[in-house]
């Protein structure tokens, strides 16, 4: 039987660590202590510098002898994605890279990069919540201090009331070379997108359970505990715009889904939008231009680039930024649904 092979997984790419060599944790011992050791090594460099005139007057204190880090827990890991019954070749590796839960600038939309798994709906939703309500991300993840993280998700029941579900995972990740194979941060030593994706996979049973498409609205619900709803872009255009404008003003997360990947409009590199793919809607804007008002929609591809590298080269898009802006008319031409949360 011919399999459908429909969803968009991110283009495999070589990840170049962005970390400054001077700040790279030195000589990390392979093993479970990597996370804590990495954080300790990073913290001096990430602390804000104070001018000499603001230096404290009190005599310097001697650092107390640090207690040894607690033993690291090793938890069962969710199974990787199966394609046509064959498991992905990515083996789990411990966090010997010294990656920390958050990088230098906390939770940012720009952190999220989808990996080689068909869960664009999840990556787009993570970025949407990160951009509008980052505390929903930080509040959902508890660092247990032993190399594990407990993530709180919400289920909405039949009556619409929410129930919290706690999922604990460690930081072992399926790796492709020296980078996580699935969701990762654009900051090479930041973990939160990988941890949230791993916990979501653990919750649903495996990476395979989330790697065959899904609903961005469900993920936003799981993170915020608020109802998601979808709207077709083919319905009442004024009502849809009003709703998108309200969501932008109220800082509510939004995602959008493109349509049939076989449609010619998704094969045009100039359009720079791919079919059967979920995007983060960063917001809408009404821009005055003389007597007219232009309606604009700002979007982000969860691949962390807008175009596949060949397409970017074909249209001379050297920067290939993940964030881009479309007119509302173009947005409605290229996207079929908008997912609202809250």
């Amino acid at each position: 039987m011919q399999t459908l092979q429909t969803k968009q997984a991110a283009e495999p790419q070589k990840v170049t660590p962005k970390v400054d060599v001077a700040r790279k944790p030195a000589a990390l011992t392979p093993g479970a202590q990597g996370f804590e050791a990495g954080r300790a090594a990073l913290s001096p460099a990430s602390a804000p510098l104070k001018p000499a005139s603001m230096a404290p007057q009190a005599p310097a204190k001697t650092d107390p002898v640090k207690a040894p880090p607690p033993p690291q827990r090793d938890l069962p890991d969710p199974a990787v994605v199966k394609k046509d019954g064959v498991a992905d070749p990515y083996a789990y590796q411990k966090n010997t890279r010294g990656a920390a839960l958050y990088g230098t600038n906390g939770v940012q939309v720009s952190d999220v990069r989808q990996g080689a798994i068909g869960d664009c709906f999840l990556a787009a939703a993570l970025a949407a919540v990160a951009g509008t309500n980052p505390s929903a991300i930080t509040g959902a993840i508890k660092d247990n201090g032993d190399g594990t993280y407990t993530v709180r998700f919400y289920n909405l029941d039949w009556s619409g009331s929410k129930k919290a579900e706690s999922i604990t995972v460690d930081a072992d990740l399926p790796m492709n070379g020296d980078a996580p194979a699935y969701a990762k941060s654009t900051e090479s030593l930041e973990l939160w997108p990988s941890i949230l994706e791993k916990a979501y996979a653990q919750w649903k049973g495996s990476y395979d359970a989330i790697g065959h498409g899904g609903n961005a609205g469900d993920v936003m619900e799981a993170l915020t505990g608020e109802r998601s709803r979808s709207k077709s872009t083919g319905g009442d255009t004024d009502a849809l715009w009003t709703r998108m404008k309200e969501a932008t003003e109220q800082k509510k997360p939004m995602c959008a889904g493109s349509g049939d990947k076989d449609d010619a409009k998704y094969k045009d590199p100039k359009a720079g939008v791919y079919g059967w793919h979920a995007y983060t809607v960063l917001g809408v804007e009404e821009k005055k231009n003389g007597d007219t008002t232009e309606k604009l929609v700002k979007l982000r591809n969860p691949w962390a680039v807008r175009r596949r590298s060949a397409d970017a080269a074909a249209v001379g898009d050297a920067e290939n930024k993940a964030e881009f802006t479309l007119t509302y008319a173009e947005f409605r031409r290229l996207y079929d649904d908008v997912y609202f949360n809250g």
């Binding site: 289920n155 709803r229 990947k261």
Partner: protein
């Protein structure tokens, strides 16, 4: 009711989805064409009945009030635009009834023909779903993740989805299928039907045959999470050579009663033999 339907089917030779309406439709007439149905639904008062004449309607309609749509079975065809579900229901508190409609060519991320994403009631009778597709998630013909869904006397043929070639039941939907037939549907998971999360579904007197998926569960495959799993009952159903399947490690429960099933079916993980089954 089922006995009456079976008697009627025997007399006129009709199968699911081919049952002619016995009483004429009384309501607002709607003529075939592109966009005519969306316009009629948008202007209909809550509780209205729309009578769809025989013919083809190219449609992409968001239903935002309670309404009944009645067509001429086998002759009123709702064709998708290729840009989303033919009919979408995303507002709470509605009561929507569909009768005697053929849905074809619907293409959407989920629910090529119909999508129920709200705490509403959707009743579908004597309809045919053929050649619809859900390319990103599932439910080539029908997707529901909330509300109450009742489907009776319907045919699902040749639909495709990633999860659930014909139907994807997700979230907290409660569904009931009666006197329906699923044939020739295909998906990566759940050739005909995929039930996920907290979905609760009953299939009574439903026939499955010739549905396909590369993993077990060409008729039905269930998948849950660590906090909730779907519950499905098959009663008086016929599976032909189609199979049941469950995800690892969180599947769900499939209770099988008074059904005709392939001989290995009752030993599948998650399947509960509720008695009266015939093994073939």
């Amino acid at each position: 009711m089922l006995a009456m339907w079976l008697l009627w089917a025997a007399v006129v030779g009709a199968g699911p989805g081919e049952n002619a309406r016995m009483t004429p439709c009384t309501g607002t007439p709607v003529a075939p064409g592109a966009g005519t149905l969306a316009k009629a639904v948008a202007s209909a008062p809550a509780g209205a009945t729309l009578c769809l004449a025989a013919g083809e309607y190219v449609a992409l309609v968001e239903i935002e009030r309670s309404v009944t749509l009645i067509g001429v079975a086998g002759r009123t065809v709702l064709k998708g635009t290729g840009r989303g579900s033919i009919l979408g229901l995303h507002e709470d508190g509605l009561d929507v009834r569909l009768e005697g409609l053929t849905f074809t060519g619907g293409v959407a991320r989920q629910g090529g023909a119909l999508a129920l994403g709200a705490q509403s009631r959707l009743n579908v009778t004597d309809c045919t779903f053929t050649g619809n597709r859900a390319g990103e998630y599932g439910g080539g013909a029908l997707f529901a993740n909330r509300g109450e869904l009742t489907v009776s006397g319907c045919r699902f043929e040749g639909n495709r989805g990633v999860q659930g070639g014909a139907v994807l039941l997700d979230g907290v939907v409660r569904a009931r299928f009666e006197g329906c037939a699923f044939t020739g549907n295909q998906a990566e998971q759940g050739g005909a039907v995929r039930a996920r999360e907290g979905a609760m579904a009953t299939f009574r007197s439903v026939t499955f045959g010739g549905n396909a998926s590369p993993v077990p569960g060409s008729a039905l495959r269930v998948a849950g999470s660590s906090s909730r799993t779907p519950t499905v009952t098959l009663e008086g159903c016929t599976l032909g050579a189609d199979t049941l399947g469950a995800d690892e490690p969180y599947g769900g429960q499939v209770r099988v009663k008074d059904s005709t099933v392939p001989k290995d079916t009752l030993t599948v993980r998650g399947v509960v033999d509720a008695g009266g089954n015939v093994l073939k």
